[in-house]
Symmetry: C2
Subunit: 336 residues, 2 copies
């Protein structure tokens, strides 16, 4: 059904080698060029990348692994990564592991079997051994959003400690003293850093840290919802909540809505990611915005450089600044 180089050879009377050379940009006699081009059209020839990959042992494919396809941060990241990749002749094969480390391992194996040239991953944190094995096979890995403590590979992150501090400090500046934070899983570096930023600001201002105000969830909306309810049910509830990812932010808002708690009059909120959300929520939501383009750029760049050998040696850690966008969801509790 699909024409092969062999078919073209037959059709033109030229040899395999010549056709192949032409396809890969080599020079052939003018007349032959025409013949080949015509044959390609007529036979609807497409390079069989599989066969090519087998021969060159390069698939020109990058595996991309994310926790969930329904995670806004991840999809907006990989959308950009894919764009860059394809600009450089690479393509991405995207997998989500549904927040399940076991599945993450399977995807890793799957991608290895698919002979990907490299892997870009937003890791769960529970598959360090397996990721090390990938590296051991000589396949470059770049982690995004999160770093893996035991793994020596390139990583791209934002300065979570700092931005989290800024958010919390903003609360403090608005007279909040009972500030809650809803964190992600503790084994995720990003979540840990955001917590550390929270703690550092408390220390800086000598505020007592109430452990009840520090909640750990997974990164699902449901989790944000439940933990927010738990916070609200505290004998002495917080006056402000810092939701440390997008889905948690959604969950918090839905819990607040359910109880008819008004933002910011009754409770102040700073959310995370997705500037669009702030336009849709009333009042406009203050939130931490991550530099998606920069993250995607840097990630792709690192991967491409490793692949091309331009970058060698010790792993790079690229860190960007996130931005605190202030809108109308924070107000001093004293103004009540």
């Amino acid at each position: 059904m699909a024409g092969t180089i062999k078919d073209i050879a037959k059709h033109t009377g030229l040899s395999l080698g010549t056709i192949s050379k032409f396809i890969n940009g080599g020079r052939v006699r003018e007349a032959n060029r025409d013949k080949i081009e015509r044959a390609i059209k007529e036979l609807d020839f497409h390079v069989n990348e599989i066969a090519r990959g087998l021969k060159t042992s390069k698939s020109k494919t990058i595996g991309i692994i994310i926790p969930s396809m329904e995670n806004f941060f991840c999809t907006s990241l990989i959308s950009r990564v894919e764009k860059h990749l394809s600009k450089h002749g690479y393509s991405g094969i995207i997998c989500d592991y549904q927040e399940d480390p076991q599945m993450e391992k399977e995807k890793l194996v799957f991608l290895i079997n698919k002979m990907v040239d490299g892997i870009i991953i937003v890791p769960s944190g529970d598959t360090q051994k397996e990721i090390q094995q990938v590296l051991d096979r000589g396949i470059p890995v770049v982690t995004v959003d999160r770093i893996l403590p035991d793994i020596a590979c390139d990583s791209v992150v934002v300065d979570n400690f700092k931005i989290s501090g800024e958010a919390v400090e903003y609360f403090v500046g608005q007279d909040h003293r009972r500030i809650a934070i809803i964190c992600g899983p503790r084994n995720i570096s990003t979540a840990e850093e955001r917590l550390n930023g929270y703690l550092a600001v408390h220390e800086k201002f000598r505020l007592t840290v109430d452990p009840d105000l520090i909640q750990f969830g997974d990164y699902y909306m449901q989790s944000g919802y439940e933990l927010c309810r738990r916070l609200l049910d505290l004998p002495e509830p917080p006056t402000a909540i810092f939701a440390t990812n997008y889905d948690i932010t959604l969950g918090v808002i839905s819990a607040l809505n359910e109880r008819n708690i008004r933002i910011p009059e009754q409770l102040s909120l700073i959310g995370f990611d997705n500037l669009n959300l702030s336009k849709v929520i009333k009042p406009a939501l203050s939130l931490v915005v991550q530099p998606m383009d920069q993250l995607a750029d840097a990630t792709t760049k690192l991967m491409l450089e490793r692949l091309e050998g331009t970058l060698q040696g010790i792993p790079q850690l690229v860190k960007f600044e996130a931005e605190l966008v202030i809108k109308d969801s924070v107000i001093s509790p004293l103004h009540k």
Copy 2:
């Protein structure tokens, strides 16, 4: 670096054929089984799917093409599709064409080159010729969410005409007479059907159709935002708006917020997709919810059956019912 079957053969003293058979589930002598298994572990052997694919001319890979990775409907769809696919030993290679038909064509070629066994696509509508070519190569195609008038392939959609009618009829029942609809691009069957549902209800109730109240946008939030503003600026603005996809819904809400127009007191709204949104918006948003699981199930099922030859002959059109979830964003304009 990576062990091959040949390596295992050397390591065990057995032949290529035997190893291959074992790997593919054939029987081998107990003792040999052990030897092979041990060798696999020791050499960290993984099947080279590329080589296998070359030989079998089956890549066990399905190409998945969607308009945008940042489109909630699409990502939540493909997330489910991928899940099913992998359950059946297939994997998906996901591409987005960023709403650009030209790019869509490129992705089609790309996937063909990657030797995908089939293609699942949410098509732009402008690449029918190219999709036909894919079919001509014997590669099964299933379109989701949209049907292609000139193409004979399997499709999975919801009954857009009907659900749109229900939404508009709900408005009518709430005494609305100036009902606006913000549609997607006209060449997308789904958008057209949603408009037709709107028109049919107007006809049914003998309501005059004001062309000003029918706006066509693309499926981006920005579009919903702008068209909503245009509607609001009408000499006689609508009392209700039907936003016919998720991003348009977001855009409408943000425009409304910007002008401090209260839902539903000043304007009633029915949105589309993403039940979570309705929990986050105040007041809770009434919206059309699509049966994502059913859509994904049916899509995967059709593809798998075509691949396995279980399903042959004329293209199937599978249609599901969407659901109108009523919350608090619609009120009678007479109650003002």
